[in-house]
Amino acid sequence: MKSLEELRAIRERMQRQIDLREQSDEDIRVVVGMATCGIAAGARPVLSAFLEEVSKRGLQHVAVTQTGCIGVCRLEPIAEVYVPGEEKVTYVKLTPEKVPRIVAEHLVNHSPVVEYTIGAAE
């Protein structure tokens, strides 16, 4: 059962971590496009997969956020990854299956998955 107790435990755990770490300008950001065309193309399970993967690995320096339109409907679902000090990387035609690799290789090891990027698709 998902109980409120469990939520309280998350609070305790997270508060301890928030206390321990520096504040957020250094965070990596993952931004998933959630406009109508993105949702219709499958953005919801892609966003779920990012949240699941980041939480499973306990990546505290990664923020997963949502935006409206990213601007290239035919390449949805799209996610942009911002690593401080590095160029923005745009991933296109995402599926939940592609997400663990992006998290492992790009968010953890700082090596973008080139074959999923907009550059490879165009």
Partner: protein, 198 residues
């Protein structure tokens, strides 16, 4: 859209874009009809915009010249013999009500409501609250982000992946409780990650 829950996610994004402080999602199943509602206290629409907002391609967005969300919902509802109504007042808010005939062959499944609710909550700004009520034939389930925030306190945000996952699991269990007899349908939590491939 393959699921009613995806329409709900999309229409609720309009409310967030309109600066709502409170968004109320409703799903009601009764008498062979499924009624979806999205009510907000956002900036509302002018009478002129309201008059044409369910016609394909009305939009005030600037990144492209067509709006699809409300026209798609209207089409989907009308294909089942149902209706779409949009009420809105400038400065007051907007309520979108879509009625689907559940028995119609073109009626999409409800789908993964837990994912829709949890992801909307995950994306909320600190000033906006979301409530959700699903009335099924055997009872009702409600969820309110204000209650979650009350437990999390001011420092732990809804946007944290761990919190989002908890919310999804919590709502999924509430949803399952509305269907005590039925086996898990497509669109329960376990399907979330696979859904994009089908």
């Amino acid at each position: 859209m393959k699921e009613l829950s995806l329409h709900l996610l999309d229409i609720a994004q309009n409310s967030l874009a309109a600066g709502a402080r409170h968004v109320a999602l409703g799903v009601e199943e009764a008498d062979g009809e499924i009624t979806l509602t999205v009510a907000d206290d956002g900036r509302g629409m002018s009478p002129e915009l309201l008059a044409r907002v369910t016609d394909p391609f009305t939009t005030t967005r600037t990144t492209r010249k067509v709006g699809m969300g409300l026209p798609l919902l209207r089409l989907a509802a009308e294909q089942t013999g149902g209706t779409l109504a949009v009420e809105s007042r400038e400065g007051v808010g907007t309520t979108v009500t879509a009625v689907f005939h559940a028995g119609h062959i073109d009626c999409p499944p409800l789908g993964d409501l837990a994912a829709t609710v949890a992801l909307l909550a995950q994306g909320l700004s600190g000033e906006t609250e979301l409530t959700y009520m699903h009335k099924g034939p055997q009872g009702a389930f409600t969820f309110d982000t204000a209650q979650v925030r009350a437990i999390l306190g001011p420092e732990v945000p809804l946007s944290l992946p761990e919190v989002a996952q908890w919310m999804e699991g919590y709502v999924a269990e509430g949803e399952a409780g509305l269907r005590p007899e039925a086996p898990p349908e497509r669109g329960t939590r376990l399907d979330t990650v696979r859904e994009g491939t089908t």
